[in-house]
């Protein structure tokens, strides 16, 4: 094995264990300070500050167009793919500024993975190729390493038992719920620290949704998860913290139990009880 390959493998392995070292009270994955995002002249996120707890599930709720997805994408700089975006403020991941001029967005996205609303396995690739493509394109050549990571990722995504005999079949041959778990496995394969989920269940039937929710619950011991959801019951079921966004602003943020049982802001209560949104 050549040295550069080794270094990639090592780099990936180095950050595998989430830090167990004791930190002050709740450890924070993200610290977000005065974040604003514009698309052209339109301000999509307005001066948001919040801390996102590590190894917990944080749900982002709010009506359509309130900036949920933009906020999520600002956490791994995916919003920059839209031309003419601009941001102000700071996003720190474990104390590191993700928007520092020296930081490569590709490295940010390796640390902060993402699962999308519509499952999108690559149509030209088999199940196995889909899972390891991130590692491959990031320079990992060792077939042994790729095979290990393939099984590990599929197991973590609770898909291994269903597909272990069909790894060479096209990723698109799976059912909708399986495809979404395949996409989760693909995101996990590069071993990110954080998993962002943009309404991961909105296109799935209730049974497939339940499986994904179960999976999110299992994954939080190892990953920090931030998920956008339209579904109030789902936010209540899966999340430890809930943030309510409205018109680009963070209206209320706190433990899910409190937000749902005793919200401090009238707007939050109105939204949660279905009076608008």
């Amino acid at each position: 094995m050549t040295p550069p390959e080794q270094s990639v493998v090592e780099r990936l392995q180095e950050r595998t264990p989430p830090p167990a070292e004791p930190q002050v009270a709740v450890s924070h994955a993200f610290e977000i300070r005065n974040l604003s995002v514009w698309y052209g002249d339109k301000r999509a996120i307005d001066n948001v500050s919040m801390d996102i707890a590590a190894n917990a599930v944080t749900a982002i709720i709010g009506p359509s167009g309130c900036g949920k997805s933009t906020f999520l994408r600002a956490l791994n700089r995916m919003h920059e793919l839209v031309p003419k975006t601009r941001m102000e403020g700071k996003v720190l991941l474990r104390g590191e500024d993700l928007y520092a001029p020296t930081v490569n967005p590709a490295i940010v996205r390796r640390r902060v993975g993402m699962v999308f609303q519509k499952s999108n396995p690559f149509p030209t690739m088999s199940i196995a190729e889909n899972v390891v493509i991130g590692l491959r394109l990031n320079g990992v050549r060792s077939q042994k390493f790729l095979n290990e990571r393939l099984e590990k990722s599929l197991r973590m995504a609770a898909l291994w038992e269903e597909v272990k005999d069909d790894l060479d079949k096209p990723g698109t041959s799976l059912s909708g719920g399986q495809q979404q778990r395949l996409c989760i496995a693909r995101a996990l394969a590069v071993e990110p620290e954080v998993l962002l989920m943009d309404e991961p269940c909105s296109a799935l039937d209730p049974i497939a949704t339940a499986r994904i929710e179960e999976l999110i619950h299992e994954l939080k011991s190892r990953y920090t998860i931030v998920t956008v959801t339209h579904n109030m019951q789902q936010a209540g079921r899966i999340s430890d913290y809930t943030a309510f966004f409205y018109m680009g602003r963070l209206i209320e943020f706190g433990p899910t139990t409190k937000i749902f049982s005793n919200p401090s802001e009238p707007q939050t209560e109105d939204y949660i009880t279905g009076r608008f949104g």
Binding site: A106, R109, K118, N120, T124, N138, P170
Partner: protein
Amino acid sequence: MMHTETSDNHAWRESKSALASAFAFISAVLVVTPLGLVFLHLLIHGASSVNWNFFTKLPAPVGAVGGGMANAIVGSLELLALAGAVGIPVGVLGGVYLAEYGSARINSVLRFLADVLNGVPSITWGVVVYGLVVLRFKGFSAYAGGLALGLMMIPLILRTTEEVVLLVPNGYREAALALGVSRWKTIVHIVMKTASKGIITGILLALARVGGETAPLLFTAFGNRFWNHNLAEPIAALPLQVFTYAISPYDDWHRQAWAGALVLVTGIFCVNVLVRLLTRGRGAPVA
């Protein structure tokens, strides 16, 4: 429901509909007929001269029996290889640039220029290359012919590549970028791979298109009655040979010209069938 309509009105509508269908059908037949006629005509006049000699022998002098177009067939393939070496990389990368990079304003200018280039009469390419290459290097050559055909291919491939790359759903780009894959690798390994069938189709159609061109070769490849294995020398090409034979006053050369045209049309037909087969395959998200 039209039960209350007068039957008169209804009949009039029916006949209008029938008339429109009939015109559409006749137009469709008119479109297809020339192809059938051309092919039939070529078969009648050329089929008898398409034999083993045609594919294996050099052109025979006037009056001599036998003779073929082996050198022209191989020459055409060599010219297409040279043209592909110029047209495929520039066309594909240019198309990817238009679809993935660049500002909207510059791209619309580039797109317009490519469309103008697509409309340039093919003989113009021959004249341009004559001026740029043939005069400078003081001689006709396969290189010059290949360049003329290659330049013709660029706008064709560029536009089809752009179209099929734009058809790749954005979700795949996002999925790859979200894995920390660089922009360039995403484009090459995800976007272009997804669009590969469409890109290959565009390349094959461009090759089929320039494969039948005569005008750009008249003062570049020039033609050659003998085997030529030096690409810096004039080279034979099937359409060029057909042209030379067809305007000659000799009956046996005319027969050879018919045969050459038949082989050319059949070859282009085969490429198109190949394209059909390629784009029909399962799991073709972009066709």
